[in-house]
């Protein structure tokens, strides 16, 4: 049976145009990571999560639904599902995300806020429930109309909030806001930096030297779309972590498989498996800097004796103190 690509694309882009995200979630869930951190609401400089770290744990549960799509009658039902989805939020019937997983991903965002503050970067706000997903997946899949419409919405929101500078936490949001939006949205003029760049430029001083080793998995986006290769390495080295490079690294990094997860989960798993092998040859402690890489590589690593961690966790051990 051919893959039901069209209905699935329709499903995702309808979600984006009608519910402002490919994976609609309540703002209670997308903002609860910030509880107790006292981040001011709004401001000229904001930390922009783009909802990526919040969406990933929800995906874990919907993947079961999605992989059914690949090779069964569910795929045929999806064309019907798309029509229904326009009126009822189908995503809300998907199995709920694992609480523990959600907590863990929320913690990475908390780590990032603490890292910035420790580095003396304290003047930033957060848009809480007003923040929007950038639409990256829908653009990648070539649904340009829905994406462009959404990008204008995001820009309007940022404009209304008076935002001039954003600090991003993941490469996909960074690429959208820095490279893609300016070409599409008239009058767009935002300064966009990832927290890794901000930390690198800051006076961040490690409180603890870790004296350890870590294998770096560069994200394709950071390495080849955003020229962010040196920053994470310098931050780790300063903290006493010897960065080990796997066979494919830096500008020549190898994908985690994540980008084809929504249409071809089996292929995504296969690529992730190959990447884990390459990483494991360089060492057992792997660090990632993108929630999609983290999610995919973790899945592929289970049972391999390799641990995969978000770089914010390691950096906080050193710079937090």
């Amino acid at each position: 049976m051919p893959l039901p690509i069209a209905p699935l694309l329709g499903f995702l882009s309808d979600n984006l145009t009608k519910r402002r995200s490919v994976m609609p979630m309540s703002s209670r869930k997308t903002t609860r990571w910030a509880a107790g951190l006292d981040i001011p609401a709004g401001g000229e400089t904001v930390l922009y999560t783009g909802l990526m770290y919040q969406i990933i744990p929800a995906l874990t549960s919907s993947e079961k639904t999605m992989s059914l799509v690949q090779d069964s009658w569910v795929g045929q039902l999806l064309s019907f599902g798309r029509t229904v989805n326009r009126f009822v939020n189908l995503t809300s019937f998907m199995p709920p995300a694992d609480r523990q997983e959600q907590k863990r991903y929320d913690q990475y965002l908390r780590n990032i806020v603490q890292l910035l503050r420790k580095a003396g970067v304290t003047e930033f706000g957060y848009l809480y429930g007003s923040e929007l997903y950038t639409g990256a997946l829908v653009r990648d899949l070539g649904v340009d109309d829905a994406f462009e419409q959404h990008a204008r919405k995001v820009h309007k929101m940022l404009d209304r909030q008076g935002v001039r500078r954003v600090i991003t936490v993941d490469p996909h949001t960074t690429d959208m806001l820095r490279n893609v939006y300016p070409k599409l949205v008239p009058g767009y003029n935002l300064e966009v930096k990832s927290y890794l760049e901000v930390l690198r430029e800051s006076e961040a001083r490690p409180k603890n030297r870790l004296e350890s080793e870590a294998v770096i998995h560069d994200s394709c986006l950071y390495a080849r779309y955003l020229d962010t290769v040196e920053q994470p390495r310098r931050l780790l080295e300063k903290a006493g972590v010897t960065a080990r490079d796997p066979e494919f690294s830096g500008k020549m990094t190898f994908c985690c498989g994540g980008p084809v997860e929504s249409l071809f989960p089996d292929k995504a798993g296969e690529i992730a498996g190959r990447r884990i092998k390459q990483l494991a040859e360089a060492g057992n402690d792997v660090v990632t800097m993108c929630p999609i890489c983290l999610h995919n590589l973790e899945k592929a690593a289970s049972g391999n004796g390799v641990s995969v961690r978000d770089i914010s966790e390691l950096l906080l051990q050193a710079y937090g103190g």
């Binding site: 893959l3 069209a6 694309l9 394709c220 190898f254 980008p259 084809v260 292929k267």
Partner: protein, 103 residues
């Protein structure tokens, strides 16, 4: 029998979303691509250049399999914007085959 579609050629030429004219078909991109598909991306560009719309649409799954990872671009001697070209073809298919947006 593959058919040359001149409308397809025109649309591709007119658009600023697709440009593989510099491609010299060396095949380095296909050799390094993690997907390991014979068609991706060099042969695909050949079909587009020759105006073989049928062949492009027939290989829709391959077009949607690209990771947009740009490992191929890093190695392309002609600096072809391969990932953006693949994305253009997805958009073309979404409009012409999937009827997802304006034609």
């Amino acid at each position: 029998m593959a058919r040359v579609n001149t409308d397809f050629i025109d649309e591709v030429r007119r658009s600023d979303g697709f440009d593989a004219t510099a491609c010299m078909h060396c095949g380095q991109c296909t050799a390094i691509c993690p997907m390991g598909l014979d068609l991706l991306p060099r042969r695909l560009f050949f079909y587009v250049g020759a105006g073989l719309e049928d062949k492009v649409i027939e290989n829709l799954e391959t077009i949607f399999s690209c990771l947009l990872c740009r490992l191929c671009e890093e190695n392309c001697p002609r600096d072809v914007h391969i990932a953006e070209d693949v994305r253009f073809l997805r958009n073309y298919i979404n409009r012409k085959v999937h009827k997802l947006a304006r034609i």
